[in-house]
Subunit: 122 residues, 2 copies
């Protein structure tokens, strides 16, 4: 099993524009929605912190974006990191720091925060 699907790249494809591209869901659903949403669980603050911290650390080739609904609402706040396609659930600024240091900079994984496909919600 691989997170990157090499069958989707093609000879002649350009180099990556961002070495590491992070998308943090900040979608908001109406209050009381059964799925909940990343925004009500603090994703905006967490994403803003991650963006600012990445800048402070001067990490090259990385972009921290906000995104619309990634459709894993029940598990949120969630982020996905490409091209490797790794998903995390994160709750605190310390979680963000660990993802930045261990994954974004170090190229490793933060095992305790990983989301796997079988985690759903499907």
């Amino acid at each position: 099993m691989k997170s990157v699907d090499p069958s989707r790249s093609r000879p002649g494809d350009a180099a990556a524009y961002y070495r590491c591209h992070v998308f943090c869901c900040i979608n908001e659903r109406p209050e009381g929605h059964p799925r909940g949403c990343c925004k009500e669980r603090g994703s905006v603050r967490l994403r803003n912190y991650m963006k600012a911290r990445a800048k402070e650390l001067g990490i090259d080739g990385v972009r921290i974006n906000q995104s619309g609904c990634l459709d894993r609402c029940e598990l949120g706040p969630v982020m996905v990191i490409y091209p490797e396609g790794i998903w995390y659930r994160y709750d605190t600024l310390e979680d963000v720091d660990e993802i930045l240091q261990q994954h974004v900079i170090g190229g490793g994984r933060v095992e305790r925060l990983l989301l796997r496909p079988e985690d759903g919600p499907k």
Copy 2:
């Protein structure tokens, strides 16, 4: 040169949650901003069309998301497709149809709409 950086995947990484994950910038800058923005060039309509059309076509394993600023404003409206990390500039519903058919479904490239790293804006 490859769009997918295999050095970022690790043994034991989970399978991809989405086979093909599209992010369409819908960022809005103040009117008259020298960089312009994807929103003022119609990105919201284009992204909504792409999402609806992908659903109509019943394409499996694909998600069409909106995102914050992808920082290639001058070239917009822009989208990036992961895990392959391919960027497009797109202006019309016909462009969207071509990207869906040729790239998302067919796994090819729409050469006339491709953005390469050297296109900037850096």
